[in-house]
């Protein structure tokens, strides 16, 4: 049923029309029911907030506990370190060396390859630069013979590695000096 509420209806008429509405419509909730539902809703909200607080607190406690354990428990093996060779491992002969040492070794391989492609000396030898070259060559030769001696004796692994590093650096320097010598020789 549809009522067209216009200004033409008076209040008594509207009341009459309302009284003639069908009875199938569900009656609206009364005030007591409204208050009950409101209390229930608030209680649920409080409960949800408490659960959130509890969860945050639990996470914080777990993190603090983990940090405390990490700080105070004895250190365990570094997983990375476990992958590196140890004295007892089959890869023990491969030394653990700083990255700079590996880089020097790699560069020295390239330097040696380049040096091998060069003639023993330029056609015209300038004594000043050649003296620098022969000095480096002699040091490298001494380092190589000494490395053989140290390794044959054994027990000087750390010093041998350090000397190997110095040797590699000398080879790289030799390549640089010889490059400069080559450039100077090519100048008119």
């Amino acid at each position: 049923m549809h009522f067209d509420l216009e200004d033409s209806h008076s209040v008594p008429e509207i009341v009459q029309m309302l009284r003639h509405l069908p009875s199938e419509s569900a009656p609206p909730i009364h005030w007591q029911e409204f208050k009950r539902r409101q209390l229930l809703r608030r209680a649920r909200a409080r409960s949800a907030r408490r659960r959130q607080f509890a969860l945050v607190a639990a996470v914080a406690v777990v993190m603090i506990g983990a940090v405390a354990l990490w700080r105070y428990l004895p250190p365990t093996e570094d997983p990375m370190a476990q992958r590196l060779p140890t004295a007892a491992s089959p890869m023990a002969h491969r030394p653990i060396v700083p990255i700079a040492w590996d880089e020097a070794a790699l560069r020295s391989v390239a330097s040696e390859r380049w040096l091998a492609s060069q003639p023993a000396e330029p056609a015209i030898v300038r004594v000043g630069t050649r003296a620098a070259v022969t000095n480096l060559e002699d040091r490298i030769a001494w380092a190589d013979d000494t490395l053989t001696s140290m390794r044959a004796k054994g027990g000087e692994a750390d010093r041998a590695r350090a000397l190997q590093y110095e040797r590699d650096r000398l080879v790289n320097s030799l390549a640089q000096v010889r490059y400069a010598e080559t450039l100077a020789a090519d100048l008119p």
């Binding site: 040696e112 000043g128 620098a132 040091r139 100048l187």
Partner: protein, 297 residues
């Protein structure tokens, strides 16, 4: 008409010659800059060598105290430490070292040194022992196996202690070591550093009247050793230089203040020249030159 013609020619000639002179001047300037650049390049190379050596000083000091100092002859070979019954495996050959000069390569297997077999579990130690007992500058006969084939090499064991500027100085715990002190290498700056040498080929040797020695292409400006362009250095204190590098290495083995006797071929006549090895700032002792007969040596 003729006057205008000649005036035009004169003006053009003046302009062209002026431009050429300016260009010559510019070329001179460029050449001077090039010369200066070359000198800087060589000085930088020298500095790289010197600084590279200084970096490793503490380690070398330690090794000297342990008796691993450069007092013995070396051949410039690094051997594998792993025991091998077939010989000592060459891990690396020093670039420019005696073994490399003789033709040895990484991967070679040393089986004998001066006729002594070094096959066995301690072959690297045996090679070290045998090489350390040879006289500096003596020939070491090394037999290797390369790709299954035997090869013989004659390696000249090299004395390298001068590379540390301390010839003849024994390692001593209480001694303040200065292994990287300035030796003759330091004295070469500005004195004989600019000297240019060339290895004598048979053809050049025939032209200069000798079959050995090193040709001086450019003598030192300040008359160190009283050398002249075109001289052939026949010997340095009795040691015969076989190449420019060898002559440099021999000269580098002297310390500042030491006397050096050179035998020189000049205009197909042998003369002896004596000089004191200069300090960093050259102070030449008046060289003593004396003519020798050709049959002296």
């Amino acid at each position: 008409m003729h006057a205008k013609y000649w005036a035009t020619i004169f003006l053009a000639t003046t302009l062209v010659s002026g431009a050429v002179r300016a260009d010559d001047h510019s070329q001179d300037s460029v050449e001077a800059q090039l010369k200066a650049a070359r000198q800087k390049l060589e000085e930088a190379a020298d500095e790289v060598a010197s600084l590279s050596a200084q970096i490793g000083k503490p380690l070398v000091d330690q090794l000297m105290l342990m008796g691993e100092g450069p007092s013995h002859a070396v051949i410039g070979v690094q051997l594998e430490s792993n025991a091998s019954k077939d010989g000592a495996h060459v891990r690396d050959v020093s670039p420019g070292g005696p073994a490399a000069e003789a033709g040895m390569r990484a991967g070679d297997v040393i089986v004998a040194v001066n006729g002594t077999d070094v096959k066995g579990e301690h072959s690297p130690a045996e090679v070290t022992h045998l090489v350390r007992n040879v006289e500096p500058n003596s020939k070491v006969k090394i037999q290797v196996v390369r790709e299954g084939k035997p090869l013989d090499f004659e390696v000249t064991a090299r004395q390298v202690k001068s590379a540390w500027g301390m010839p003849g100085m024994p390692p001593h715990p209480e001694m303040s070591f200065e292994p990287f002190g300035a030796g003759f290498m330091g004295g070469m700056h500005g004195s004989v550093a600019g000297m240019e040498l060339a290895t004598l080929t048979p053809q050049l040797g025939a032209y200069f009247g000798t079959d050995k020695g090193v040709l001086v292409l450019r003598a030192p400006k300040n008359a160190a050793f009283n050398l002249q362009d075109g001289d052939v250095i026949l010997s340095i204190d009795g040691r015969v230089p076989t190449s420019g590098s060898h002559a440099t290495r021999i000269l580098s083995s002297y310390q500042a203040g030491e006397k050096v006797k050179l035998q020189v071929m000049r205009q197909k006549k042998k003369i002896n020249v004596e000089a004191m090895v200069p300090d960093r700032h050259m102070k030449v002792v008046e060289p003593v030159a004396s003519a020798d007969s050709d049959d002296d040596q």
